[in-house]
């Protein structure tokens, strides 16, 4: 059977999911990490793969075990990261750093499942750290959001980071 | 004027052997050498500061740099042009923050010291706080440069009171310069504004690229050439009838086919225009120069100005440390061109050598990598190859300067670095050798010299 293009999702869905993205960014900016965890599906997959700069014509085979990751998290691992940040021992975050996320280029697309949408977005993360060191990290994201009850939950996120060398001394932050 | 710099007097000749054709890479990255360049080259040369068309009226001014020194270039009520340091003699603040404009006064933001367009101190905020004798108005103006000169619209200035006249500095290179500055009645003008970009490369890479490097064009700009010209590659070079000509570090590389650069501009109407005026150009400048104009060509005026005759981009490489320059580009056209042709030229320049131009985009990356790779201590001690065409010098009965046959050549680059070495080595300006001995003499108009050369 030939695939027919899917009709765009209803406007109410687009608005609700876009609001969820903005809410998520606000919760993270405000370090409401438990609030953020509550926006994640039980089976959430949260990934950021490593890349390398290669010539367009390069024919090197892929690594058998994959390129390695910056994040490859399920809900348990994300909870573990949150636990660490909340442990009181993460000196790099004390005093807290000034972090602000801007979400843009949001596209909400229908999927074959009625209760799921695919979402493309761009995240700019401004981090002002010790002694005024400021870094702007940018990333593209492709998400799967699922409606459960009255809420939209993040079911999967693939992040593409736009830096070949990480320009900061840590990544104690979620995209 | 001499600028003393405390420090070493190194032997710069160890950084190159131009008879063998090599350079040491440290001249492209070393901070001490760069500092010395600012004193010995930029503080002593005639430097391009403006085209007179940029400041036509009394009170018109623009700000620019001579080396790393910020200056104001201002048109005076009597029509002359003055160039002065853009720095208040009181606490040193920059007095003019605009790129260009028209004014009667430059007023410093800090304490309100006010200067007229000649740079004379005219007054200040709360002037009564100075007692009589505290301040000598005459000696606290904006510091004027030693000399200002104008060659057919191009305004140059120098900090060096010992410098020869601008005509002598350009010397026989004027024979070539007249091909862009005087190929038609009415002279030239800059149109549009100045486009600035910052490139993390040594300033000399830009100059040497334009002074002689036709060789990179077919490779570096292959994609640009093809995209501008229906998939056609770079036009073939006739090595028997193309040349490098070098005069005291200035240089022009060119063919004699008359159309190559006009073709690369990608604007047929412009090509038609020049073909139409070409017979007149031949009357004005002689047969040879009318054939050179429009050919594949590029040129640089020592130390830091370059242009592409025919393509009409005019540019200056302003040094900003050993590993950075600011590139300023303008569009230069003949004043008497019809407006629609001027517009075509502008479109063509933006499409080819604007910051998003099909050719411009390829170069910066190369120069940056040529420079930044020298951060390595091992790498920077390695030599570079400048030997191409080293045995092809000729005597030409029409072309002045040191002339080499064949446009694919490093001859002009060697001439540029020879002049660089001469200036870095000689304390006294007058003792620098002429390369070559002047042939035209100090005559004002190269087009009025039919007797000297069989044109």
């Amino acid at each position: 059977m030939l695939d027919r293009p899917l009709a765009p999702p209803p406007v109410e869905v687009i608005v609700a999911v876009t609001q969820a993205l903005h809410r998520e960014a606000r919760l993270l900016d405000n370090e409401d990490l438990d609030g953020w965890l509550a926006m994640l599906g039980k089976d959430v997959s949260y990934r950021l793969e490593l890349k390398s700069r290669r010539f367009r014509a390069d024919r090197s085979p892929p690594f058998p075990l994959g390129p390695g990751v910056i994040f490859n998290e399920d809900l348990g691992r994300l909870k573990m990261r949150v636990d660490r940040l909340k442990s009181g021992f993460v000196w790099a975050e004390d005093p807290p750093n000034y972090i602000r996320r801007a979400v843009s280029n949001v596209e909400v697309l229908a999927t074959r499942a009625d209760n799921e949408v695919r979402v493309h977005s761009v995240l700019g993360m401004h981090r002002n750290r010790i002694d005024g060191t400021t870094r702007l990290l940018t990333a593209g994201r492709t998400d799967l959001w699922r409606s459960e009850g009255s809420a939209w939950l993040l079911a999967a996120r693939e992040i593409v980071l736009d830096h070949s060398v990480l320009p900061d001394s840590n990544l104690n932050a979620f995209f | 004027m001499r600028f003393e710099r405390i420090g070493r007097e190194p032997d710069y000749s160890r950084y190159m052997d131009l008879k063998e054709g090599w350079l040491d890479r440290r001249i492209f990255s070393d901070a001490d050498i760069y500092e010395e360049e600012l004193y010995r080259i930029f503080a002593r040369s005639w430097l391009f500061v403006a085209h007179e068309s940029q400041i036509p009226n009394s009170g018109d001014f623009l700000t620019t740099h001579m080396g790393e020194d910020a200056v104001i270039v201002a048109r005076q009520p009597d029509g002359s042009i003055r160039v002065m340091l853009n720095s208040c003699p009181h606490r040193g603040n920059k007095v003019c923050f605009a790129d260009a404009g028209n004014t009667r006064r430059f007023v410093c933001n800090y304490h309100g010291w006010a200067f007229d367009t000649a740079g004379d101190l005219k007054g200040m905020h709360e002037e009564y706080c100075y007692d009589a004798g505290d301040i000598d108005f005459k000696n606290h103006g904006l510091k004027n440069v030693a000399k200002v000169g104008n060659y057919k619209g191009l305004v140059f200035a120098t900090f060096n009171s010992d410098a020869p006249s601008l005509e002598a500095w350009l010397g026989d290179f004027r024979w070539y310069l007249d091909m862009i500055l005087d190929n038609e009645e009415g002279g030239t003008e800059f149109i549009g504004g100045c486009i600035k970009s910052v490139i993390s490369a040594n300033w000399k890479f830009g100059v040497e690229n334009f002074i002689g490097d036709a060789y990179h064009a077919g490779w570096t700009h292959d994609s640009g050439t093809r995209s501008m010209n229906n998939g056609q590659p770079f036009p073939p070079i006739d090595m028997d009838n193309s040349y490098h000509a070098s005069v005291n570090g200035h240089g022009w590389e060119f063919g004699t086919e008359g159309v190559g650069d006009l073709f690369l501009l990608g604007r047929p109407k412009v090509m038609d225009y020049y073909n139409k005026i070409r017979p007149k150009m031949a009357e004005r400048l002689g047969e040879m120069r009318s054939k050179i104009f429009g050919s594949v060509a590029s040129a640089s005026i020592f130390p830091n100005v370059s242009f592409l005759p025919g393509i009409s981009t005019f540019r200056q490489w302003q040094p900003k440390g050993p590993m950075q320059f600011e590139l300023k580009t303008w569009v230069i056209v003949n004043k008497n061109m019809p407006d629609d042709i001027k517009e075509e030229v502008t479109k063509g320049v933006m499409q080819t050598f604007g910051p998003g131009g099909t050719f411009e985009m390829d170069d910066g990356e190369n120069w940056e990598n040529c420079t930044t790779v020298n951060r390595g201590v091992v790498t920077r001690h390695e030599r570079l190859h400048y030997r191409c065409g080293i045995g092809r010098q000729i005597e030409h009965d029409t072309l002045p300067g040191i002339v080499y046959r064949g446009q694919y050549n490093d001859a002009n680059q060697r001439g540029f670095y020879q002049r660089w070495l001469d200036m870095m080595t000689h304390d006294e300006f007058g003792k620098m050798p002429a390369r070559p001995e002047p042939q035209l003499g100090n005559v004002g108009e190269t087009r009025n010299l039919p007797g000297l050369f069989a044109l």
């Binding site: 890349k51 390398s52 290669r54 390069d58 024919r59 090197s60 690594f63 075990l65 390129p67 390695g68 990751v69 910056i70 994040f71 490859n72 691992r77 573990m80 990261r81 636990d83 660490r84 940040l85 442990s87 021992f89 993460v90 000196w91 790099a92 750290r129 010790i130 002694d131 070949s164 060398v165 990480l166 900061d168 001394s169 840590n170 990544l171 104690n172 | 890479f205 060789y215 990179h216 077919g218 490779w219 070079i237 090595m239 990356e365 190369n366 040529c370 790779v373 951060r375 390595g376 201590v377 091992v378 790498t379 390695e382 190859h385 030997r387 191409c388 092809r392 064949g406 694919y408 050549n409």
Partner: protein, 457 residues
């Protein structure tokens, strides 16, 4: 250089006192000292280039740095490995701007000169038209790294023709390197892409941190330990509330190379949330390793937490399984490159778990790595002030408490919490910085074992 050579040497003699464990902070920020390091340390020592597993086939290449010099390491047709400055001999342009790949030729963007994988200048556009066939191409090949050599998969390069052989340079550190490189018959490999990060630190601070500093673990990484620790590591606990000095060794006095090692044969995997599959692999193969490396290394060291430092800028941690090189970028900045390391005999699932866990703990968002960056950066920053630059810092923990230990080479102090190794690191640094040539750099392998002793230990 602002100081004359003699002045500089007097200065360096003063800057470090490895007997009492004192360093001047200026060694972490001074531009002059840094310039001399580039020449006397990075221009002289054997530097890690690549693991053979990263360029398995002819034409495979990997771009890296030796000090600040950009180099390409290329596998040749005959299987050998060569390395060259990544810079065209014509105008100096960088010829390769990719991180890695496979290529039949490297062609410069500027004028199109192309070089074959053996460095030869293979093609010059318009060679006849522009050069009239007069260019002697044999003189303009890529500039080769003076010496390139391999030790069991690790490829090193060196600029100094008078350096000792790689074998002699590594000296007794090979005793410990073999615990990864030669424990199992299949040898070793690095996994995944390069994890690159810019840090505002002097390059010596991360080296000193990993070469000997077990002390920071329980404090700086308390949050991460609380989150993932699943086993005891020589009694080190959250908040530095306890330590077992008999459980590990600080080993130095091996030509400037250093090792920290626990002795329990399993604690390398203490920071794996689920170490079971790896512990099973260790126990299934332990006898093989004992047969190959002897009782001490096979039973006590293989599988334990081991930190190996190869002077000046290579560190590898079998167990936590990260492999790291620091490229200096000025006195106060580095680029830190990390990979996961594995043994080829490991089952695929175990290798995958290692890559996964290395990224989790010491990757770009690593639970542990996230703690170190700011400390190293701030130690560097605090060496730049006018007053602070005149101050000293100290590595004087457990002075004079070292000696021989049965079955091991090196001058050894007890425990992972000591500053014994750091003192040897700065001593080596000083030896190199004061020597004008390799001949003036002392060679020492304290308490060296014979091959036989090592095997039967």
């Amino acid at each position: 250089m602002l100081l004359g050579e003699d002045e500089m040497n007097d200065n360096i003699a003063d800057l470090v006192d490895s007997r009492t464990g004192r360093q001047s902070r200026s060694i972490y920020a001074s531009e002059d000292i840094y310039r001399q390091e580039l020449e006397r340390i990075f221009g002289r020592c054997w530097l890690f280039l690549v693991h053979t597993s990263q360029i398995p086939k002819p034409g495979d290449y990997f771009r890296t740095f030796m000090g600040e010099d950009d180099v390409i390491v290329i596998r040749q047709k005959d299987g050998s490995i060569k390395a060259f400055l990544n810079s065209c001999t014509h105008r100096g342009n960088r010829i390769c701007r990719a991180d890695r790949g496979n290529a039949r030729a490297f062609t410069c963007n500027y004028h199109g000169w192309s070089f074959s994988p053996d460095g030869a200048l293979a093609g010059v556009p318009l060679e006849n038209e522009a050069y009239f066939g007069e260019l002697d191409r044999t003189k303009f090949g890529l500039i080769p790294v003076t010496k390139v050599a391999e030790y069991k998969g690790l490829v090193f390069g060196c600029w100094d023709a008078n350096s000792p052989s790689l074998d002699d340079y590594l000296g007794d550190a090979k005793f410990f390197l073999d615990v990864w490189l030669d424990a199992m018959p299949g040898g070793s490999a690095l996994l995944g892409e390069t994890q690159k990060m810019v840090l505002g630190t002097n390059w010596k601070l991360p080296v000193e941190n990993v070469c000997g500093d077990g002390y920071h673990l329980g404090w700086a990484h308390a949050g991460a330990m609380a989150a993932v620790q699943s086993m005891d590591l020589t009694g080190l606990s959250v908040g530095n509330s306890g330590v077992d000095l008999d459980g590990g060794l600080s080993v130095a006095g091996m030509n400037g190379h250093m090792v920290l090692s626990a002795l329990d044969g399993v604690s390398g995997y203490a920071f794996y949330p689920d170490p079971k599959p790896i512990l099973e692999y260790l126990e299934a193969n332990r006898q093989t390793v004992i047969d190959r490396l002897g009782e001490v290394r096979g039973r006590q060291v293989w599988g334990a937490q081991v930190n190996i430092t190869i002077f000046p800028n290579l560190q590898l941690l079998p167990g936590l399984n990260w492999f790291r090189v620091y490229h200096p970028k000025g006195p106060t900045q580095i680029e830190q490159w990390t990979w996961a390391m594995a043994e080829n005999d490991m089952p695929e699932a175990v290798k995958a778990q290692i890559l996964e866990n290395q990224c989790l703990t010491f990757g770009l968002a690593g639970l542990f790595d996230n703690d170190d960056g700011d400390n190293l950066t701030a130690c560097t920053e605090q060496s730049r002030g006018w007053r602070t630059a005149q101050m000293d810092v100290y590595t004087n923990m457990a002075l004079g408490r070292s000696g021989k230990r049965e079955g091991f080479p090196g001058d050894i102090a007890s425990g992972l919490v000591s500053e014994h190794n750091q003192r040897y690191f700065y001593r080596r640094w000083q030896e190199h910085m004061m020597a004008e040539t390799w001949a003036e750099v002392p060679t020492y392998n304290i308490n060296s074992l014979t091959d036989e002793e090592a095997e039967h230990a």
